[in-house]
């Protein structure tokens, strides 16, 4: 009897103790969570404070020293991502002074590819010129994602050295996705124009000539029109097609004669692109040429010529109507479809 009472009392004591310890643990957790939350909010306030006084990094240095490095780095990166100009330069200075640039450069040599990838991305955002050489090395990483992140960051840094790596990557079709590199280069804008023109003038292989012609078009480099015109009789079909496309994108009136010449190219792909490009120039001077192209033996050339005439407005549409009424049977079929789409208000695409 006594033993049973003692056992029950012991059990009760154990349960009370367990509940009590759980309560203490919960209270302690809440206490530390609140302290941590308050601490992180304090860091965040100081990070926002950099927008007013970018030299005030004392509290953030303490945070880094106290082991909250990752939180501070992520918040700084988040802020830096939204900024440009002088604000961005201030953020770069903060990254350098807190040792984050150095840390990320070191991380480019990590064993884990995901950490190298993260470092390559972060260095682009931190925008420090100190990262150019390490990123150029990272552009040869064994992992494709890391290589791509490295060249993307080089594009963001925008140095001549980095541009060279990007252009070499563009020419090396085995290791890279050209479309992605093109996108990065286009995002760099006018500052790369002179280098593109230099490489276009000296382009050795048909593939590199084609790529620089495309870049000329995507960047709308007006100073490149003469060079492009000179490449209109290139021996390579891909280069001539790219020339027609680029001249259409740039849209300068002086290209009318060259594009008219390409309408007589022996390859239908080139003629089709020339017909499309003439529509892009928006000049009524092209009407005659496009009307002649309605009799081309290739349907895509006829189609693009009809669409371009339609895009030119009343002067072009009059010619379409004339071709519909008295053109060849082939021209009539092509034109009828374009006229009908236009009448219904459906966008006419070549």
């Amino acid at each position: 009897m006594f033993a049973a009472i003692a056992a029950i009392a012991l059990l009760q004591a154990i349960v009370v103790l367990a509940v009590f310890s759980l309560l203490i643990e919960r209270l302690a957790r809440n206490f530390y969570a609140k302290r941590s939350e308050a601490r992180l909010k304090d860091y965040e306030r100081h990070i926002l404070g950099l927008l007013v006084d970018p030299t005030d990094i004392g509290r953030l240095q303490q945070a880094v020293d106290a082991g909250d490095r990752t939180f501070v780095r992520e918040k700084l990166l988040q802020q830096s991502e939204q900024l440009k100009g002088i604000d961005k330069e201030h953020m770069t200075d903060v990254f350098l002074r807190l040792g984050f640039v150095e840390q990320e450069i070191g991380a480019l040599k990590s064993r884990g590819w995901w950490r190298r990838l993260e470092a390559a991305v972060n260095l682009g955002n931190m925008a420090s010129q100190d990262a150019v050489r390490p990123l150029i090395d990272a552009a040869k990483d064994v992992n494709e994602d890391v290589r791509l992140a490295a060249v993307t960051s080089l594009g963001r840094l925008g140095t001549a050295e980095g541009l060279g790596v990007l252009l070499d990557a563009l020419e090396d079709g085995d290791q890279w996705t050209p479309a992605k590199i093109l996108e990065i280069l286009v995002s760099m804008g006018p500052k790369i124009e002179s280098e593109i023109l230099r490489r276009l003038a000296g382009g050795q292989s048909p593939m590199s000539r084609k790529l620089y012609v495309e870049l000329c078009g995507h960047l709308r480099i007006l100073a490149g029109v003469e060079l492009l015109q000179a490449l209109a009789d290139d021996t390579d079909l891909r280069v001539r097609t790219a020339v027609a496309q680029a001249l259409g994108i740039i849209g300068h009136d002086s290209a009318v004669g060259t594009l008219n010449g390409l309408l007589a190219d022996k390859e239908c792909l080139v003629r089709a692109e020339a017909a499309r490009a003439l529509g892009g120039l928006g000049s009524v001077e092209t009407v005659e040429y496009l009307q002649q192209a309605l009799d081309d033996p290739d349907w895509q050339v006829r189609r693009n010529a009809a669409v371009s005439l339609c895009r030119l407005g009343p002067a072009g549409k009059d010619r379409l109507q004339a071709a519909f009424e008295s053109g060849t049977a082939q021209a009539q079929r092509t034109v009828a479809h374009v006229i009908e789409l236009d009448r219904l208000g459906i966008p006419v695409i070549g």
Partner: protein, 123 residues
């Protein structure tokens, strides 16, 4: 200073704008979507609206159109602050009646100068 309505669905951008513009003495209100923005314009009558384009529920251009159609709100200057930075986006924003168009990423000195100019023009 001025009452500025910030219409922005990205919390960190809002925090940055609120912090920096508060330090200049402006009073900041937040809407995280287009519908909220229109409701807040009715209730607080801001001196200026900073408007994002890509937002849930109702997009920025739709908000702008409604503001400009309403005689009571058409004179409030609207500055678009958007990640969409292509020529056609900027032209569309200005054609819809925006006072100015700023692309993200942005710099505060430029943003503040444009806000000051917009506020001065509305006086």
């Amino acid at each position: 200073m001025a009452r500025i309505l910030v219409t922005e669905d990205e919390p960190y951008i809002y925090k940055m704008l609120e912090f920096r513009l508060n330090t200049l003495g402006h009073e900041i209100s937040l809407a995280t979507n287009g519908e909220q923005a229109l409701a807040l314009v009715d209730s607080i009558r801001p001196d200026l609206v900073l408007l994002d384009v890509m937002m849930p529920v109702m997009g920025g251009f739709q908000v702008l159109r409604k503001l400009k159609e309403d005689d009571g709100t058409s004179s409030i200057p609207v500055i678009i602050l958007s990640a969409k930075g292509q020529e056609k986006d900027i032209v569309a924003g200005l054609e819809h009646g925006a006072f100015d168009y700023i692309t993200k990423p942005f710099s505060f000195p430029e943003l503040i100068a444009r806000i000051d100019r917009a506020l001065a023009s509305a006086k």
